[in-house]
Symmetry: C2
Subunit: 211 residues, 2 copies
């Protein structure tokens, strides 16, 4: 495998077996075919990657965090679990998972979130912006991006009060998760832009399509 980088374009046409590096606080879009495996690797450790995907076409079925939690019957999906679309179609089956802790409850970090919660001036990069820009190159309207599979993100809730804690990602350098595509899809993938979520440092994310 070879590595492409350091800067990636918004739209990629990944060749099977070629590792692509998503620079810190950016995102890319690409197509996957049913049966392909998407391996997402945290090259340096403690870095989140937000994934959103949907079936092409007007009103095409999109990833649904709520359906995925419902069918898996648990909050944290891992090897053997399936990410579902809004019409209950299986979109991804989780294969190898070195980490076992990912989030489906939160939406991608957004420009507005950095303004409201961190006092930013509106210029901070965000996963929402990066997903929107990348997926726009494939004709996806911004308002379709309503949730994400937040790979390596560790979000916990106090069982008595529901209070949220975002812990540093448990992923170590080289840890990966493999997602087997159960349908042809358009995919957006980011190296997350939130300092708080990523143990204080924004780092790259690697991915490769297999098969």
């Amino acid at each position: 495998m070879t590595s492409v980088g350091p800067r990636s374009p918004l739209l990629l046409a990944p060749r099977a077996g070629v590792v692509h590096r998503i620079p810190p606080a950016t995102g890319v879009a690409f197509r996957v075919a049913r049966g392909q495996t998407l391996r997402v690797t945290d090259p340096l450790g403690h870095q989140v990657a937000d994934l959103f995907s949907l079936v092409a076409g007007e009103g095409g079925e999109a990833l649904s965090s709520g359906r995925s939690i419902d069918y898996a019957d648990k909050l944290w999906l891992s090897s053997g679990d399936v990410l579902h679309g809004s019409r209950s179609t299986p979109l991804w089956r989780i294969g190898r998972d070195d980490v076992g802790r990912h989030d489906l409850t939160l939406t991608p970090c957004s420009r507005e979130m950095f303004v409201k919660l961190r006092g930013d001036d509106g210029s901070h990069p965000s996963c929402q912006d990066n997903l929107e820009r990348a997926l726009a190159t494939l004709g996806v309207a911004a308002h379709r991006i309503t949730c994400s599979f937040n790979i390596f993100m560790d979000v916990r809730f106090d069982p008595a009060t529901g209070k949220m804690t975002i812990a540093p990602p448990a992923s170590r350098a080289g840890d990966c998760i493999e997602l087997v595509a159960e349908a042809d899809q358009l995919v957006g993938l980011t190296a997350c832009s939130s300092e708080v979520t990523n143990d204080g440092q924004l780092k790259p994310i690697d991915f490769v399509l297999l098969g």
Copy 2:
């Protein structure tokens, strides 16, 4: 206050102060104006109501469960908390809340869910279908309905394993929640169709607009 029922049309134009009854396993759509209060009451007890709302217009901002959880910093929103839209606009501020336990993690129950999880033949009513039909009368495309505020629904997750438990709604007969509209919105509201979620019996939901 007077009560309208037992059967409601899909589209309502509620007059302030008039209580509307949503028959079991059905749903309605209506408009709310900023500043109005929507009171949702469980008339018989242990019954869930699914709410979805969005701002009118192409790509209008829609309720976002993930943003709402993020800004509230907790899984279970109650009095004083705010339901946010996908662009971080406050859509509803929760006022009076007799119950204090509602869900934002699951999507509305769907026809496909009853087939996959309950062995249904595809004819079971569902909140997703009821929201889609009702909101279609206001021009809302089905694929916009990607999450819901599941009023009175009690969903818990084991803090160690993430295993989900859906407990009977804690609401007793006459319990209500009041939502103050922070923006003009199109609203879909159901009396939930899932036997498992509603303590074994599908019951009506009442609502009234105040102000």
